[in-house]
Assembly symmetry: C2
Homo-oligomer: 201 residues x 2
């Protein structure tokens, strides 16, 4: 069964060790902020710094493990039809929209959606780290370090496949930031399966 | 008074709002991992993701604020004699040395030094985020995202000046990772002052 995350919203769910999570961009050019916590101890969480350091690459893709702050593998990327995701920026928030976009009455953003989705699991707003920003396309200038948020490279139907390497609480959004999604807010689909999906065989 | 952090060690101290912190590389080519927490509520901590997002740059320098996870300014960079620091990688740890260097009996690294220094303030190992890695020189390939840890650009005596914008607990190390420090372990010096240091006037 494919589940849908409505535009500018979020969800959280349990993903058991060995289960597969397919993240789908149904309409194209839509980002999903993804977080993971150990179900056994939610103080263990996904770590961009550990994952980038151990991969030796900023841009992670097929074959790369996503590590926790305790250096345990939480998820593995098994297949990737897009090949470009961000792992440096925090979820967009009221403050993002205020500081970067100058909004007077800012949307609560992915941060707000993740806070709401994770509250039932006892995870607090301060425990939301840098997300694995699926399909987010951030260019970096190697000499100045300047970053530019570009439209995602994902086209309608493109997928990313992850496998849980421990029992997890996973949270995902359909991202709320204009610039990250080429200025249209679209849904994100996802599917949890106990076996490897056919398309990835 | 200038304080010294011995090679491969760390420290933590209180830095009140308005105080200045000078970080000095006394011998050159030495990294210092720097963390900051709000003294009023240590669940508020320095955030690479927020700081990079709001600056629009990976490499922060003079004039850039360092934000917390709650999007408050914790520290401002007032002067910078080096101009290249990293804000993407987590403190080196036993796991870093095991996974990247293949060490059989790994050093506890900056992570271990930060854990020990922060324990008296009630800050736990899981609450150590991505550090502001002062003088760390990480190149990024813009197309592949490949990262390369290079020798720091700091020469003997080079300084970075920060001002506290809230009451803080600050932790700093003399970094323990070979690659980050051109394979020699040196001290880091720092000085706390109530007025702007002469050299930065």
């Amino acid at each position: 069964m494919v589940s849908r995350i409505a535009p500018r919203s979020g969800t959280a769910f349990r993903l058991d060790k060995g289960q597969y999570l397919t993240v789908i961009d149904p309409e194209g050019e839509q980002v999903s902020d993804l977080l993971a916590y150990s179900a056994a101890d939610t103080r263990e969480y996904i770590s961009s710094g550990r994952s980038i350091d151990y991969a030796g690459r900023m841009f992670l893709t097929t074959g790369d493990p996503l590590y926790s702050n305790r250096s345990n593998v939480m998820l593995s990327i098994l297949a990737d039809e897009v090949g470009r995701h961000d792992f440096t920026l925090t979820p967009c928030s009221r403050d993002t929209f205020r500081i970067i976009y100058g909004d007077e009455d800012p949307h609560h953003g992915c941060q707000g959606n993740l806070e709401r989705a994770l509250a039932p699991y006892g995870i607090t707003p301060d425990e939301i780290p840098i997300a694995f920003n699926v399909f987010m396309n951030v260019d970096v200038d190697a000499s100045s370090g300047k970053i530019e948020v570009r439209p995602p490279k994902s086209r309608a139907g493109d997928r990313l496949l992850l496998r849980a390497e421990m029992d997890l609480i996973v949270a995902m959004t359909a991202c709320s930031a204009g610039q990250s999604n080429n200025f249209t807010y679209k849904p994100i689909d996802y599917q949890i399966t106990d076996t490897l999906p056919d398309w990835a065989l």
